[in-house]
Each structure stands twice: as structure tokens, then as C-alpha cells.
């Protein structure tokens, strides 16, 4: 069991897949100075990227990920305005009217009468 997998040469030298031979050589020096990877790993990375057959494998071994772009922000000033409030319309409550209807035949009574009795025909 290994602790770490073999790193991708591009990651070791911290260069893009478009890097030229010259850029690889420069990156090799920089990587040595950084000392993040062992000299053997850095040398091996350089060697791999200089060899077209090995470099194409290094290309293949890179994950395909999207480029991180910018995060677009929105305008939230509208949130500073007070929250509109919905009030229950009194005409749909009509409690007082309902109490007042006690002693007269209301629309509600007519509706109920129609609902309860209109479909019943008394037989003669």
C-alpha cells in the first residue's frame, strides 16, 4: 500500500498542457527550488513531458474539469423596501352580516334550500 499515488507531471511542474519545451525547462528549475516534490519526481516529470509518447499519457491522466469563472453578484436593494402585507378582505369574512341575517331569509339560506330540497320531488 502506497501513501501517495504517482503525481501527474503537469502537477509536479505546475504547468499547463500547452507548455512548450522551454516552459517545461523553466518550470523544472522552479519546481526544484520549490521543493514540493522530490528531485527524482521532478526529474521524472520533466523527462515524461519531453517525451511525446509519455506526455500524451500525462495529458490523458489529467481530469477533465471546467474552468473556474467569476461569480456574478446581484442587486439586493429591493430587499430593503418593506415587505408588502396581504390583508384578509373583509367582504370575504362577512361575520357581522351573517349575524344580522338571523331573522331573514339570506342568500345563504336560499343556497342551502336549493341544495337540500330542489332535487327532492314529493309524490302526490
Amino acid at each position: 500500500m502506497h501513501n501517495l499515488p504517482l503525481p501527474n507531471p503537469y502537477d509536479v511542474l505546475e504547468i499547463s498542457p500547452a507548455a512548450s519545451h522551454q516552459e517545461i525547462t523553466i518550470a523544472f528549475t522552479k519546481a526544484m527550488k520549490r521543493g514540493k516534490y522530490s528531485p527524482r519526481e521532478i526529474a521524472q516529470a520533466r523527462k515524461s513531458l519531453m517525451n511525446p509518447q509519455e506526455r500524451i499519457i500525462a495529458d490523458y491522466l489529467r481530469p477533465i474539469t471546467g474552468t473556474i469563472g467569476s461569480f456574478k453578484r446581484s442587486d439586493f436593494t429591493a430587499l430593503d423596501t418593506p415587505i408588502p402585507k396581504l390583508k384578509f378582505l373583509t367582504e370575504f369574512d362577512a361575520l357581522a352580516e351573517a349575524i344580522g341575517d338571523r331573522d331573514r331569509v339570506s342568500d345563504s339560506d336560499k343556497r342551502l334550500g336549493k341544495l337540500l330540497f330542489s332535487d327532492r320531488s314529493h309524490k302526490k
Binding site: M1, H2, N3, L4, P5, L6, S16, P17, A18, A19, S20, P52, Q53, I56, I57, D59, Y60, L61, R62, P63, I64, T65, G66, I68, G69, S70, F71, K72, S74, F76, A78, L79, I83, P84, K85, L86, F88, L89, E91, F92, L95, A96, A98, I99, R102, V105, S106, S108, D109, R111, L112, G113, K114, L115, L116, F117, S118, R120, H122, K124
Partner: protein
């Protein structure tokens, strides 16, 4: 004389029947006295029927029919009285009168007349009642419930009838329910919601159709339980109900549903409220965007992603949200995942993405993750094989190998890249060979199956027939079968590689039959493709054993696929060839017998057939030699055998020898019985020259013996000539007998 006698009997019978008929008439008269008494009429009817049976006279039939009619009328009368009584009791005197009048037409009695008078007086009351009932009902329909009661109650007191009583009960319930509703309204107005709810619910129990109670209950529920308010008003198509429901939805922040409810209400106040709804929706939407931004700022990108997708689900595509998801949140999360170096977690995550998306990008990333995972966890090498083989099978589609920036105008050698990538996997598998040979062999089998499938697929351009853009290899297919249900597999070796027999099929294809035998599945095939795979493996197993001269081990696999072998010319031909080679190595006669039978029953080729018949014929020959069976029994057996192959020379020769022996045995027997002429006649008819020669030889030996030992009388000479004649007729041109014929000719005995 006979006619007189007959007439006498006839008149006596007529007289007797006529007397019976008169008895019937008497009974019928009695029946007229009491209309309720049916017995006399029934007896009269029985008599008339008896008369018509005894003497065929229309008079009796007519009398029976009239009597039956009278009985029917009596029954109808009773029925009408019962009906009239029932109508009267129910308060329907008009209907009762109709029945009574009909009854009166059948039978007039004083009681009936009195009943009709009583009924007529009832009709007057009934009509007054019905008039009031109609008025009360109309009032009830118009909602004047108390007015209806006031009208109906005295009418019922005067004239009671069920329909009126029922209407009154219902009206009283409505009044009671309305009173409870009123109590509820007062309680609600006084802020006593609990009491109000109780009153409304009681009112509803009495009159479940009382929508006003439901509306009030919903209005009360709006305060603390908007969902309950919606439930109260379920299926009520009413503007008030729609408004209250809509308001309840606003309490639940379900703006869309609220708007849906209010859309049908054409009131200016509602328009204003719907405008407010739009503002609330916009605010909510902006709040959601704000929440996403806050999450991103707090680096909680996974939650931000979830909320972003929910946002799109709820509000539809938004340019900013989609941009941030695609260009910032997803790539950042992806980058974070790869940098986490937790390869097991990364692999599991990418495996799920691959199974969901099934595209080249997700396949590539999954394969790369398994590559790094396998370096740290060699026990996960199987994951690498499964992902890697399918990934490199689709190299030409892989974005990392398209327009490679550093290659400029140079073309990529895809074949070489494929071989190099395949070598990486090969090396990884080889690494475990020394550590765990079993595991190494297992992984190698899986790897080889994939490579074989890729080779065969490419060779036969099968990848293009697969109904999807990517070429899936067997290990990947078998690992995630339910995700690749649409994969179309053809019924051939390539298709068989995707079945449970695939690994053994690949081993056979690679020529490693011993390994195939070791790893083949021990279960029954469940599909046509499974069966093909099983047949392919068993065929190679059988051939392998035959090739190595273990023909007994070949029996089981080959017998199992006998039908498949015989339907494939190449398989049949190969097995025939191997059987011929195997035959050369068998030394034991009994083993030949067994092997020839196995070959014959398995492939039924000409060679197998000849081989089988040859050894069966030899077996019969041995049985005759050992006197286990008689000549005749042996001959019968052989002839039966010869039916299968008439050209078999071994069988033919044995049959010939047996026939000769049988004929000679018969001739010898006749000779012993001094039946010389019959014996010679049989020899003459024989198809075998050997028989003719043998008999001719005996004849001549007899002649020579006589010539040497006996005095030749005229009779003897005549006998000798006859015997010589037999011999000559049997074998006239046999060279070995010519000297004997010449000698006899010289001594004057001519054949």
C-alpha cells in the same frame, strides 16, 4: 261383433264422463255463492280437466277454460283489495280508488261499496294536504325554512303522510343547524374561537352540506393552521372559498397556488392583492438569490449548489444563477474534489456521476480517479479495470486527446496511445501476481474478457450497432447492468462475453480451455445469450478433453450441447476429427465399444456410424463364438445393425459368413436325413458360392468313395451319374473340380 263391443264400451265411458261434468257444473254453481271461497271452483276445474282427458270433447275444454278465468278473477279481486288498502293506509286515496273501482267491476259487495265511499272522502283531505306540501316544499327550496314548517305542521296534524313527515324532520334539522351556526357566529364575534368551532362542527354534523359553517371554520383556521383552512374548503367551488383558500396559500408562501385560486375572482380588490402577490414572489426569488450568495461567501458551495438547483426548479432558468452554477460553483466544487486527494470518495462520487451522465467526460474522470485510487489501494484494482478498459475503448472520443495543444499539426497515434494505456493496466495487474496469484488470475480473466470484447467488437464494427454513443465493455456492463439495459447484444461470441459465461468464453477464445473449465459458472442459463455462452464453453471443454485423450470427461459437456453441435457444421466436423484421433489411442475392445457408441450418439457422422457398426458387428461375432447367442440370433442382430449402414464391410462379411454357416448347417442336417435332393436344391438356391462349392465337393467325394469301394451295378451307376449331375449343376466351372469331372468322363460317367 267387435264394433258392437267397442261402441258399447264407448257409450258407457261417455255416460260416466258426462255425469262427472254435471258434478263439476254443480260445484261451479256453489262457488258463485261465496266469492271468497275458491275450493268449489278449484274442484270443478279439476273435474273438467279430468273429463277432457277421458273424452276428447271441446265442451269440457271450454268449461275448464271458463272456470280457470273465474278463479283468476277471484285472485285479481283479492290483489286489488290489498293494494287499495295499502294506498289508503299510506294516504294515497286517489290511487286506492282506482283499485277499488276495478275490484267492483269484478264483484260487487256492500263492503266494497262502503270502502269506495270512505275512499272518496279521503281523497278530499289528501288533495288539501298535497297542496300544502307543495307550498311548504317550495318555501324550503327558497330558504324559508321556518315558513315551510309553519305551513306543513298543521297540515300533517290533519292528514299524516310519510313524505310530509320526512320533509318536516329535515326542515327541523336545518333550523337546528342554523341555530347552532348562529351561536357559532356570536361566539366568533366575541372572540371565542373554540366555542365557535364546536358550534360550527355540530351544525355540520346535522347538515353536512352547510357550506357557511365550513367557510367560517376555514376563516378561523387561517390564523394558526392555514393548511387546515385549505382542507375545510376542499372541492368547494365558490368565490369565497377560493379567496379563503388562496389566502391560506399565501400564509404558506405558496404564491403560485394562491394566484391560481384568485385568478377566477373578478373583483378589483383581488386584482390589487394579486399584484401584491407578484411583489412577494419577486421578493422571495431575490431572497433565494441572496441566500445563495451568502452561502458562496461562506464557502458552503455544496449547499449553494443544492439551493441553486432548487431555485431553478421553482422559478425556472435564471441567467445569473445558471452562470454561477456552471462557471463558478460546479467547477470550484470539482476542483476542490480533485484536490481533496481522498481517492475513494472521489471515485465513488465520479462513479455516480458517470452512471447518471454516461458521457465521455464522466467516464474519463471516473477512470482517472480509479487510476489514482488503485495506486493507494491495490485492493481496488478491480475498479480500475472496470473503468479503465471502457475508457480506453472510447479513446477516439476523449477530449484530452482531441486538439492536444503541444502537438501542433502532428497527428496523434491513437493506436499507440491505446496500447500504452492498456500497458499501464497490464502492469498494474502484473504487480499483484507474486502477492496473490488467485486474485491476479481473477483480475486477468476480467481484463482479458474486456480486451477480447473490444477486439471482437472493433473487428465486427459492433460498437456502431450498440445503441449508445459509448462502447461499454463487459466488466463495466456486468457491474452496472441496470444502467445499461438499453445495450443491444448480438447472439454470438461477442455478445456471450457480456453474460455470466463471458469470462470463461474469453478464456476459450484465447485458447486457455483449462482456465475456462476452472472458472465457468455452475448455474443454468437464463437467456438465449447465456445459453450461447454456455454452449461455447462446453464445446471447447469437450474438445479439450478429446484432444487430450480424456474422452470419458468429454461425455458430460458434449452431451449437454448435442443439439448445438449438430446444428453447427464446424463444431460437428471438429468433434468428428478429434474422435478419429482419440480412436487411434484406444487399445481395449470394450473401450472401443463404449467410445464408438458415444461418438455415434453424439455426432452421427459417417465415420462415427461406421466405427459404431463395425464394433457392434464384432461384438455380435464374439457372442456367437462364445455361444452366448445362436447363429440365427446373431444374424438377426446384424441385419438390424446393417439397416443403419448397409455399406459397412465388416458387418457384411460377418453376415455372409453366418449365412453360409447357417445354410451349410441346414444342408448337413438334410444330408444326414438322406434328403439329398432337398439338400442339393437348397444349395442351388443359395446366393453364396461357398455353399454350392461345399455341397458339390461332398457330392463328388461320395461318388469317388462309391467308385473305390463298391461293385458298380446299373442302379449304382445311375445313382452316381445323378450325384455327379448335382455337383456339376452346382459348380460347373469351378476350376478345382474340373480334374474330377475329367476323370469321371474318362471312366464313362458324364456329368
Amino acid at each position: 261383433m267387435g264394433l258392437v263391443f267397442f261402441l258399447g264400451i264407448y257409450y258407457r265411458k261417455s255416460y260416466k264422463v258426462d255425469r262427472l261434468y254435471h258434478q263439476g257444473k254443480e260445484l261451479e254453481k256453489q262457488g258463485k255463492i261465496d266469492f271468497e271461497d275458491l275450493n268449489a271452483l278449484k274442484q270443478a276445474l279439476a273435474i273438467y280437466r279430468q273429463c277432457s282427458k277421458l273424452v276428447n270433447n271441446s265442451k269440457y275444454l271450454k268449461a275448464a277454460s271458463q272456470c280457470q278465468q273465474k278463479i283468476d278473477n277471484r285472485y285479481r279481486f283479492r290483489q286489488l283489495l290489498v293494494l287499495a288498502d295499502r294506498y289508503s293506509q299510506d294516504g294515497f286515496f286517489t290511487k286506492a280508488l282506482i283499485e277499488l273501482i276495478e275490484a267492483q267491476q269484478l264483484w260487487q259487495t256492500q263492503a266494497l261499496t262502503a270502502e269506495i265511499l270512505k275512499c272518496k272522502s279521503g281523497i278530499k283531505q289528501q288533495k288539501q294536504y298535497e297542496h300544502v306540501l307543495t307550498q311548504a316544499h317550495q318555501k324550503a327550496i327558497e330558504g324559508e325554512f321556518q315558513g315551510a314548517i309553519d305551513l306543513l305542521k298543521p297540515a300533517i296534524d290533519r292528514f299524516s303522510r310519510r313524505d310530509g313527515e320526512q320533509l318536516l324532520i329535515k326542515l327541523n334539522q336545518v333550523i337546528q343547524s342554523k341555530n347552532l351556526y348562529q351561536l357559532g357566529l356570536i361566539a366568533e364575534a366575541q372572540g371565542e374561537s373554540k366555542n365557535a368551532i364546536a358550534f360550527y362542527q355540530q351544525a355540520l354534523e346535522l347538515i353536512p352540506e352547510f357550506i357557511d359553517c365550513q367557510l367560517r371554520l376555514a376563516i378561523i383556521a387561517l390564523q394558526n393552521n392555514p393548511q387546515q383552512a385549505i382542507n375545510w374548503l376542499e372541492k368547494i367551488e365558490d368565490e369565497r372559498a377560493a379567496y379563503i383558500r388562496g389566502f391560506a396559500y399565501t400564509k404558506l408562501a405558496n404564491w403560485q397556488q394562491a394566484n391560481q385560486e384568485w385568478r377566477s375572482i373578478a373583483l378589483p380588490q383581488i386584482e390589487a392583492q394579486r399584484y401584491l402577490l407578484k411583489e412577494l414572489v419577486a421578493r422571495d426569488r431575490l431572497m433565494a438569490i441572496y441566500e445563495i450568495e451568502q452561502l458562496v461567501d461562506r464557502k458552503e458551495l455544496e449547499v449553494a449548489r443544492t439551493i441553486s438547483y432548487k431555485f431553478i426548479d421553482r422559478y425556472g432558468v435564471d441567467l445569473i444563477i445558471s452562470h454561477n452554477l456552471e462557471n463558478y460553483i460546479e467547477p470550484t466544487l470539482e476542483s476542490q474534489m480533485w484536490h481533496s486527494k481522498d481517492w475513494q470518495k472521489i471515485t465513488a462520487q465520479l462513479e455516480q456521476i458517470w452512471l447518471k451522465q454516461q458521457d465521455i467526460k464522466s467516464l474519463h474522470n471516473w477512470a482517472i480517479a480509479t487510476y489514482y485510487q488503485a495506486q493507494i489501494h491495490p485492493d481496488k484494482l478491480i475498479d480500475l479495470i472496470v473503468a479503465w478498459t471502457t475508457a480506453i475503448a472510447n479513446l477516439k472520443l476523449d477530449p484530452t486527446l482531441i486538439d492536444v495543444p503541444w502537438m501542433g499539426n502532428n497527428n496523434l497515434d491513437l493506436r499507440e496511445t491505446y496500447l500504452n494505456l492498456r500497458q499501464i493496466l497490464n502492469n498494474a495487474i502484473n504487480l499483484i501476481r507474486d502477492r496473490d496469484i488467485e486474485e491476479y488470475l481473477n483480475l486477468r480473466d476480467i481484463y482479458l474478457t474486456d480486451i477480447t470484447a473490444l477486439f471482437l467488437g472493433k473487428q465486427n464494427q459492433l460498437d456502431s450497432t450498440v445503441n449508445q454513443p459509448l462502447f461499454i465493455l463487459p466488466s463495466c456492463y456486468r457491474s452496472y447492468k441496470k444502467h445499461f439495459a438499453q445495450l443491444k447484444l448480438s447472439n454470438n461470441i461477442w455478445g456471450a462475453l457480456y453474460t455470466d459465461w463471458g469470462i470463461a468464453v474469453a478464456a476459450c477464445y484465447e485458447g486457455d480451455i483449462a482456465r475456462a473449465i476452472q472458472i465457468k459458472p455452475h448455474k443454468n442459463p437464463s437467456s438465449a445469450l447465456d445459453r450461447f455462452g454456455e454452449c461455447f464453453v462446453l464445446y471447447h471443454e469437450g474438445c479439450h478433453y478429446l484432444h487430450n485423450q480424456y474422452w470419458r470427461k468429454a461425455i458430460e459437456p458434449l452431451q449437454k450441447i448435442k443439439a448445438a453441435i449438430n446444428s453447427d457444421f464446424q463444431w460437428c466436423h471438429e468433434i468428428d476429427r478429434l474422435c478419429k484421433i482419440q480412436r487411434e489411442y484406444i487399445r481395449d475392445f470394450n473401450e472401443h465399444l463404449e467410445f464408438s457408441e458415444f461418438c455415434y450418439l453424439l455426432i452421427n457422422s459417417q465415420a462415427a456410424k461406421s466405427y459404431y457398426i463395425e464394433y457392434q458387428a464384432m461384438k455380435i461375432g464374439l457372442e456367437i463364438d462364445n455361444r452366448d447367442i445362436s447363429f440365427q440370433q446373431g444374424l438377426n442382430k446384424l441385419k438390424k445393425l446393417q439397416n443403419a449402414d448397409s455399406t459397412n464391410t465388416v458387418a457384411s462379411n460377418i453376415i455372409k459368413t453366418l449365412e453360409v454357416n447357417l445354410e451349410l448347417e441346414k444342408i448337413n442336417h438334410l444330408w444326414q436325413q438322406s434328403e439329398y435332393e432337398i439338400a442339393v436344391s437348397i444349395a442351388k438356391k443359395s446366393h453364396h458360392e461357398k455353399v454350392k462349392f461345399a455341397v458339390a465337393e461332398i457330392c463328388l467325394e461320395v461318388v469317388l468313395h462309391i467308385l473305390q469301394n463298391e461293385n458298380l451295378t446299373y442302379e449304382t451307376i445311375q445313382s452316381i451319374q445323378k450325384i455327379v449331375q448335382w455337383a456339376y449343376e452346382l459348380c460347373p466351372h469351378e476350376p478345382s473340380l474340373q480334374p474330377v469331372y475329367n476323370h469321371l468322363q474318362q471312366i464313362g460317367i458324364y456329368p
